[in-house]
Each structure stands twice: as C-alpha cells, then as structure tokens.
C-alpha cells in the first residue's frame, strides 16, 4: 500500500462525514425539528430501575400510550413534589408489566395502572415482543449497556438527527411510497408530529399536529384500521375469570408488601369512545376489575372536571389539556382517594 494513501483517505473521510452530519443536523433544525428521544428498551430499563425509590417520593405509572400523553409529568412533579416513573408503553398491554412489578419483591411503591380496554382486556397486543424485550433487557442489563445509555443520552440531547424513530435510515425508507404487498400489513404509519417523546418518557403531540386536522385524520384512520383487529375482547368467561385472577394475584402481591395500586381510565372521545363502550361494557370489565382486585379506580367520566375533554384524534389529550387533566387528577387523588404528597398543593 502506498504510504500516506490511507492516511489522506481517512482524513478526507472524517471531514466528509463531519460535513454530512452537520449539514443533515442543520437541515433538520431548519425544518423546525426539536430534540426528541428514542423511547427504546434502554430508556425504559433506566426508569424501571427507579421503582425502588421510597413510595412517598415517587409514583410509578404503567399502561398504554394514553397515560404517556395525558399525564403531564412536569405539572405532576411541580405540584406534588413527587417523582413520576413513567413505565407505560405505546400499543402495549400493561398486564405483563404489572406482573413483573408484582413479582419483584423489592417493589413496594405506589402504582397507577392506565386501563385502555382494547389493550388491557383483549387478547390483542401488537407490542408483545417489545414488552418481553423491555422486561428482559432490564433483567439482563449489563454495565456496558448502562454506560452506553448515558453516552447516548448526552448525544441525543444535542443532535436532532439521532432520533431513531424519525431519522434513522430504516425509518426514512419505511416512508417511501412503495405499493403494499397483498396480505402484508406494513404497520401503522403515524405522522412524525403525533407522538414525540421527552427524556422523562412523556409523549406529546407537537403544535403542528394539534393545528393540522389532516394529520389528526390520518391517525383516526389508523385507529379505525387497528380497531378491526382490537375489537376482540377476551371471549370466553373462563378465560376472563383467569385473566382477572392474574390481575388480582398481582395487585395482592404488591399490596401485601405495603404498596398501593390504583386503576385509571383516561379520556377518549368520538367513535373511539363509542367503540370502547360497545366492546367493553363498563360493568363487565372496569367495575369487575375494581371489585375483584379491591383496588381504587378513577374513571374519567365519573368526575366532571375531567369528563369533557375532546381528544384531537379520539384517543389522546393534546398537551394543554394534559396539563389541566393532570392538575385535576391530583385534586381527585387527594380529595377522593385520600392520597397525600410531600409537597403542599395549594397552588392548584
């Protein structure tokens, strides 16, 4: 090899790569994109490791996407002085996470379980593999994975293009307008502005999404499509009995260690709400859930202060409403459920 050839090539490669990365970053920022975080198993495991904080200092949330959108974490934390550990996951059934926490003898904290009937009660969960991946990742996490997460956090906090969900090559290729193969469902194509994620794992709609009804209608169309699959509640009575038994055993385990569990039904609206009411009658599912587990619950429709939200795409609250919802939720928890927080909440 000619001496110096590879050195010059390497130098050129470094310069070109830096230039390309900088150009891409500037372009994305120029288009109005902000820093968002990858809501991956490493991030989930990071927060899963925090559930051992004293129960009067933190509250753990599990569930599906609704509680990720509807609970405004900065609002909760500023009012209550209580740390939110957000472990909910989009499109997932929270039951495996509930069982995971119940089986963890060191978890003795306060747990809020978000109930989205179509995911909580049905056999359908599009994210089963991701659920196993996240729980296993936490259980088998290595020191190098912990360190890489911290380095990644530093880089992600500075660079827009490191948003894997939006700007990784595969994400961008997935957006190519290729014809679909008959019989192959490529997965829902949510608009980029629908669910961006903060480092605290809160999801929210961007202002672009809130203002754009075309984007909202795209998501509604996805719900309609998914609804066809999700409309299958756990069918047999025996299966439902054993399902409730699993939940009861799990909640009993947590309560026996001094922890507490509360179920939360967050708002939905429009055809989505009608669909849920029809598929999962409240008496048969929600009421029975509370009766079997003897856990407290908050069903949004029972409280006037949180019963009239309109979700832009039928299923999740917009950021401004999430702030209001969170403030009202705290009030309900204090007045109706007797919860106390370390910080006085006079400012509500």
């Amino acid at each position: 090899m000619k001496t110096g050839n590879i050195i010059r090539a390497g130098t050129l490669a470094i310069i070109l790569s830096l230039l390309a990365a900088a150009t891409w970053e500037i372009y994305l920022r120029h288009k109005g994109n902000a820093i968002y975080y990858d809501d991956n198993e490493a991030m989930w495991a990071h927060y899963r490791g925090m559930v051992y904080e004293p129960s009067d200092e933190s509250t753990v949330f599990i569930g599906s996407s609704r509680v990720k959108f509807d609970l405004d974490i900065p609002t909760w934390q500023s009012i209550t002085g209580n740390h939110v550990i957000q472990l909910a996951n989009v499109g997932s059934d929270p039951v495996p996470y509930l069982v995971d926490l119940a089986d963890d003898k060191n978890f003795k904290g306060t747990l809020v379980v978000d109930v989205t009937e179509g995911l909580f009660f049905s056999d359908f969960s599009p994210q089963d593999v991701a659920t196993d991946k996240k729980i296993n990742y936490f259980k088998k996490i290595t020191p190098t994975q912990r360190f890489s997460f911290q380095v990644n956090h530093i880089l992600e906090s500075q660079l827009v293009f490191l948003d894997q969900e939006r700007y990784s090559l595969n994400s961008m290729l997935d957006k190519l307008p290729l014809p679909h193969r008959p019989g192959v469902y490529p997965g829902p194509d949510f608009p980029d502005d629908f669910g961006v994620v903060d480092f605290n794992r809160q999801s929210y709609m961007t202002s672009r999404f809130v203002a754009d009804t075309i984007l909202q209608n795209r998501v509604k169309a996805i719900w309609v499509c998914l609804g066809r699959v999700m409309a299958a509640p756990t069918s047999s009575a025996g299966k439902l009995d054993s399902f409730f038994n699993v939940i009861k055993v799990a909640t009993d385990k947590i309560k026996s260690r001094g922890g507490q569990v509360l179920f939360l039904r967050t708002p939905s609206s429009g055809p989505m709400l009608e669909h849920e009411k029809k598929g999962y009658p409240r008496t048969k599912y929600w009421d029975r859930l509370l009766a079997v587990t003897r856990c407290p619950g908050i069903y949004y429709a029972d409280y006037p202060s949180i019963s009239n939200f309109v979700c832009p795409e039928w299923s999740h609250l917009k950021p401004d409403d999430a702030v209001i919802f969170t403030k009202e939720l705290i009030k309900i928890l204090q007045k109706d459920k007797g919860w106390t927080f370390s910080k006085k909440s006079n400012s509500i």
Binding site: R8, A9, L12, A21, P143, S148, L169, N170, V184
Partner: protein
C-alpha cells in the same frame, strides 16, 4: 462490551491514548490486560472468575506438560487440562442440552424422570477462549511450541480484548511473540486499523442489523408456511446477515488490534465465492476450521487411514463443529449437512483425480495437507467455476435453514415453503424488505467473486485516496444513519 456500542468508543479511545503514552512495555501490557478484563466484565462481571481460572490452570498445566518426561504423568496432566476446559464448556454450554436429552432417553425406556430445568447462563465467548487455551495445552503436550514464560504474556494472549469474545481464535505462536517486544501502531497502521473497524461496523450495523435482520427475523419467525418468495428472501437475508455480522466482528477485532500495533489472523476470505465446500471452509471462519483440522480431524487420522475412515473423520469433525455452535440438534444437523457435502465432494474429487494431482500427493507432508477438509484454494476464473460457486452458495443456504431455525419443525416448514410454492401461504415480507434482500445479496455475491483472491486492505491500497475517502465516509454516514447501537453479535451466543 460490544464493538458497536458507545461504551466501546469511549473505552477504545482511552486504550489508544494509554497505549501511546511513554510508559514501559510492561506497564502497557498491564494496561491492556486490565482493559481486556474490563471489556469482558462489562458484560457480566462474575464470569471473569472463569476466565482467570482457565488462564491460571492452563498456564501452569501447559508448562508442566512441556517439561514432564514421564508419559503417564504427561497424559494425566493433559486429561486434567481437557477436563478443566471442556468440563467448563460442557457445564455452561451443554449442561441443559445433555440433561434434556438424558431425560428424553430415560423416559423413552420407561422411567419417569422429570428434573427441574437448569437455569444456566452461558458466559460470553466461552467457546472461543476455551479453544484458545485448549490449543495451547495440546501444543505443549506435543511440544509444538515453547511454553509462555511470563504469566502476563499468557494472560494477555488468552484475554486480549479484540479476540476474546468471538475470535478470531488465535494460536500461541500467532500472538504471544507480539507481546514479547514493544509494539505501537504507526500512523499508517492506525488508519488501516480504523478502516477495518469502520468496514466491520458498516457490515454489522448497516448491512446485518439495519438491512437484513428484519427480513430474516420476519421469515424465520413465521409460525405458518410461507410463500416461496418470503421463504427464499428470508433465507438469503440470513445468509447475508450471518456473514456480515460475524465477518464484521472479525474485521472490528483485527482493526482494533491493528490500531494498537498487533496483527490478528484473518477469519473470512469472501466465502460466498467458494467453489465447493472444501473451498468454503477455507474461507468461512478460517480460524475455527483450521483449529478443527489441526486438533480434531488430523488427530483422528485425517485421510491417512483409508477412504471410509476419511469420510468418518470428516463427518465427526463437522458434527462436532456444528455442536460447537450451539447446544441444539439443529446445529448438529447443520454440521451434518456440511459433512455430507464435504464427503460427496471428496467422492467426486477422488473419482476425477488427475495424474497431476496424484503427483502432488506423493509426498507424505502434502498428504496431510490434502487430508484436511480445508485444502488450498483453487483459482477459478471461468464461467463454469462461477456457476459452481453459485451452486455452492445455494447448498450453503439450505444449511442455514437448520442453523437459524429454532427447531426441526420450523426448519422443515421453511424448506417446504422454499421448494413448493403455494400462493395461499402466508406472506410476511414487505416490498421494501424484498428489495433490500434483492439488492444486497446479488451485490454481496458479485463482491465476493471479484474479491475472492484479494483482501480489503490491499484493494484499499490500490484505490485512489479521494475515492477511498469518499467510500469510507459513505460507510461512516450509513453507520450513523442506521442508529442500531445495541444489537449483539450473533456469534456471542456461541
């Protein structure tokens, strides 16, 4: 620690700085040893004890084997080393498998035996470092090389982080002498090492994980029969994935070592351009195939004990080679298929043996070389050989079905889907996934064919610097865009 992780980047920068500071050579070696233990412990700290145990036992047993003149005592020492190394491997890697099969057998003959399933965690790279230490003690027994005098050098030979977890499997004469005198990469070597590191990461992060793992996982994860195109694309995707994953790891290892001034043996030589299976095993996982040749096939007799014994030796070698990859019968089936391919190829070769070949094998020394299942490479240049290479690739793909499938039911279902198309069967791959495989695999085959008699660094050396710089930067950019920083290498599980 994974090469494709931020932790490794930070770790490697620190090591490079430390290695280039004006410390004594002994201090630098101690730095490298500590770094190697950190590299390993970053995965699962307690298993470092196994590594220490293996190192200490083999250092002292190896020395005793070399100096011991009493034949019985010498054999006893060898047995101790073999039991120590293979026993550890058997317990951690094959414990569950052996118990499962024992349970099946005793139940089949009427006993009601249902033991609890053991929960054994496989230490990363145990198959690799066990083979590294085993070859040392066997060499000492045979007095093939001199014992390593310094415990520090021996520990570093076993533990040197680039090769520790997934090879290349190094022999003492390849690495130990490099620890005896001060080494530091010059600027040229540093950039060559960085080029290989980039190429390896490009193969792993962009091609294996980013482009091919999706289609492979979707096809092999299906629980029903597939349409033929889905089955074929899945298998082809896995063929590409496993090559890019493992060859990528090997390049990273070789590149990382080169950045520090050390040379590791090559592990892949464009295997999908192989004409026949002897050629394939000369190009695929070279350090394992040569290990199996030298420490299993030839000790079994190679081809020196007659035609039928040769076939038997080939089959035993490949069956054990298959089992080395994992404690599952599907891996054994993979090895068996390769064994059969090699036997059939040998049968044809023997039938067509030319007078020129008869002249070649007349000396006893070359007879041993020819006895191996990895003979010297031919240099085919014509269309016939290209077609033969495609035929070899086709047959290799059949073997990958067993390698990748979780059980025989899935493997048979996949083979059935590949060869009998039923439009009513399930389709799982998107058009995009089919395009990815359809573009990458032909490019892979063309590249292998064109590069079959050369190596990446020599091609890089002949390329104009500006063109190499552009290609290099494209690889870096694609790695950055892939953003798959956490996926483990497939061979870690072996």
């Amino acid at each position: 620690m994974l090469f494709n992780s931020y932790t490794f980047i930070v770790f490697f920068i620190i090591i490079l700085i430390l290695h280039n500071l004006p410390f004594s050579w002994r201090t630098k070696k101690i730095n490298l040893l500590i770094a190697s233990y950190i590299f390993y412990a970053a995965w699962n700290p307690p298993f470092i004890l196994l590594l220490w145990l293996s190192t200490v036992v083999d250092f002292f047993v190896g020395r005793a084997l070399y100096t011991q003149e009493n034949k019985h005592k010498k054999k006893l020492l060898l047995v101790i080393s073999l039991i120590g190394n293979l026993g550890m491997l058997c317990f951690f890697k094959y414990g569950g498998f052996l118990l499962e099969n024992f349970t099946f057998l005793v139940n089949a003959i009427g006993f009601n035996f249902h033991p609890a399933k053991p929960n054994i965690i496989l230490p990363a790279g145990i198959s690799f470092y066990t083979f590294t230490t085993l070859c040392y003690t066997i060499d000492m027994y045979k007095k093939k090389s001199k014992p390593v005098e310094s415990m520090l050098n021996f520990s570093l030979f076993v533990t040197f982080f680039p090769h520790l977890v997934a090879g290349p499997i190094v022999r003492p004469p390849q690495l130990v002498p490099q620890f005896e005198s001060p080494r530091k990469a010059n600027t040229q070597q540093l950039f060559q090492g960085l080029f290989l590191l980039t190429l390896g990461l490009f193969m792993k992060v962009f091609l294996a994980d980013g482009m091919l793992s999706g289609p492979a996982n979707n096809s092999f994860g299906a629980t029903t029969a597939l349409q033929s195109i889905d089955a074929w694309m899945g298998v082809l995707a896995f063929s590409g994935q496993i090559f890019f994953d493992f060859a990528g790891y090997s390049l990273c290892a070789i590149g990382a070592a080169l950045c520090l001034g050390f040379v590791l043996p090559n592990n892949f030589l464009y295997p999908y351009a192989a004409v026949g299976f002897t050629d394939f095993w000369r190009r695929w996982h070279i350090t394992l195939s040569s290990w199996l040749r030298d420490y299993l096939y030839i000790p079994l007799g190679g081809n020196r004990a007659g035609k039928y014994r040769t076939y038997f030796n080939l089959m035993v070698t490949m069956l054990l080679g298959g089992l080395w990859h994992g404690a599952k019968w599907t891996f054994v089936a993979w090895g068996a298929l390769h064994g059969i391919y090699l036997c059939v190829e040998k049968l044809f070769r023997d039938m067509r043996k030319s007078s020129a070949e008869r002249t070649l094998i007349s000396s006893p020394e070359s007879k041993v070389i020819r006895a191996s299942f990895v003979p010297e490479i031919n240099h085919p240049k014509n269309l016939k050989n290209f077609i033969l290479a495609l035929g070899t690739f086709f047959l290799v793909n059949i073997t990958w079905v067993f390698f990748r499938s979780t059980d025989f039911t899935s493997a048979w279902r996949m083979l059935h889907s590949m060869f009998i198309n039923n439009p009513k069967n399930t389709a799982v791959l998107t058009n995009l996934e089919i395009y990815k495989v359809g573009i990458i695999i032909p490019l892979l085959l063309i590249t292998h064919w064109m590069m079959r008699n050369t190596q990446a660094l020599s091609v890089a050396g002949k390329t104009p610097w500006w063109l190499l710089g552009i290609v290099w930067s494209v690889m870096i950019i694609l790695i950055l865009l892939s953003q798959n920083a956490s996926s483990a290498f497939i061979y870690f599980q072996f």
